[in-house]
Subunit: 208 residues, 2 copies
Amino acid sequence: MDERLGLRERKKRESRRRIADIASGLFIERGFDNVTIAEVAEAADVARMTVFNYFPRKEDLFLDRHADLVEDLKRAIRARETGESVVAAVRRHLHELLATQHPLSGARDGSEFFYQIVDASPALVRRTLEHTREMADALTELLETEVGPGMQAAVVANLIATAVTIVPRVAVDKLIAGQPGEQVRREQADVIDQTFDLLEGGIANYGS
Amino acid sequence: MDERLGLRERKKRESRRRIADIASGLFIERGFDNVTIAEVAEAADVARMTVFNYFPRKEDLFLDRHADLVEDLKRAIRARETGESVVAAVRRHLHELLATQHPLSGARDGSEFFYQIVDASPALVRRTLEHTREMADALTELLETEVGPGMQAAVVANLIATAVTIVPRVAVDKLIAGQPGEQVRREQADVIDQTFDLLEGGIANYGS
DNA sequence: AGCAAATAGTGTACCCGGTCTAAATTTATG
DNA sequence: CATAAATTTAGACCGGGTACACTATTTGCT
C-alpha cells in the first residue's frame, strides 16, 4: 500500500477490498441471490451498515471495476492519432484488451464463471445494463467536447457502447459453450474486426 | 369488450386495466417512488396481493405497453418489401409511428410528462433498459431466422434496438426543453433520417 | 338447476435490500 | 492528553416481493 496515506485511509481501502473479496467468494460459492448482505457482513466481521457504507448497492460488491473500464476507454479515444477515427481507436483498444488478456476482453480463462454468476442474477444483469448506459453517457459527453456537439455524438456514443458490450459477450458465450480458451482467443480478433467493420461501414444492406 | 370471452376473462382484463390506470394516476400525481403498492391497492379497492398477481413488478404498472411495441417492430421488419433492407424497414416504421402520433414516437404532446416520471425514478429507468435489451434479444432471434444465423444478427439487432430507443428520446428531450410540439414533430423526421443514415452508412469517419 | 373442479382474490406472515438516526469507537491534531 | 473529526455500530423502520393457506366466484358438466 501507499505509505503516504494515513492509517485511516489505509484501513478503509483494506476494509473495502476485504469486504468485496469475501462477498465475491460467497457469491461464487452459492450464487448472488442466495447470499444476503447480512451474511457478507458477518463473514467480513463487520456491521451490516458498514457494507452499505462502502457499497451503496449489493450489486456493486461484485461489479466494482466498471468505472476503471470506462476511464480506459475514454483515454484510448482521447489518445488517438490525429486523423484516426473514434471507432478505429476503440477497435484498437479492444484488440489491446484481448492481447493483454484483460478481464473485460471476455476471452480469458475463467471469465465464463464470472458471467454465469451475473447471468443467474436478474439484479446483476440489470446493473450491467446500467453500466452500458453509463458508458454511453460518458462517451456522449466526451465526443461532444472532442468532436463537436449535436445529436450525432449521442448516437455514435450509444453505438460504440453497444459494440463494446457485445464483443466480449461473444467470447464468453463460446467459453460457456465449452470451446477451449485458446481457440476463442484466436477467433476473437476476427470478432472484433467484423463487429467494427460493420460499425464503420454501416448495415445498409443487411437483410436486403 | 369481446363477447366471446367468458365473464371471468372479461373481469380480469377490466381489473387489470383499472389497477394500471389508477396506479398511473397516482404516479403522475405524486411520482413513482412516492406511491406504494399498498396505496395503489387501496385506491383500486383490491388486495395488495392482487396487484402483484397482475403486475409482477411495480414498474410494470406504469410500463405495460412494451410488448406490443416490440411486436409492431417485428411485424414491420417481417413485412418489408423484397429487396428492402432490415434497417430501411425500421426507418419506415419509425416514420409511420411519427405520422400517426404513436406514443412511442416521442413527439406527441404530453410525452414529456410520461418520460419525466420515468426519469425521476431509478427503478423505472432500469426497467426501460431491460426493455431495450428484450427488444434486442427479440430482434436477434427474428434476424437469425429471417436473414440467417451468425454473430452479425446479434450485432445488427442491438444496433437497431439502440437506434429505436434513442430516436424518440431526442424528441422528448426537446419537448422537455420547452420546444413546441409542432416544431419538434417537423424536425423529428430529419432526426430519424439522420440517425438511420448513420446506421446504414456507418460511422467510419466520425471524429477523424 | 345443481355440483365439483378450476381459478381469482384475500389475509397474513415473512424475507431482504436499503435508509435513518443516535450512540460508540477510532484516528487525527494541537 | 484532550478534543475534534470521521468511521463504525446497533437498532428501528420502510417498502417491494414471495409463500401459503383460505375464501369466494366462475365454469363446465350432468
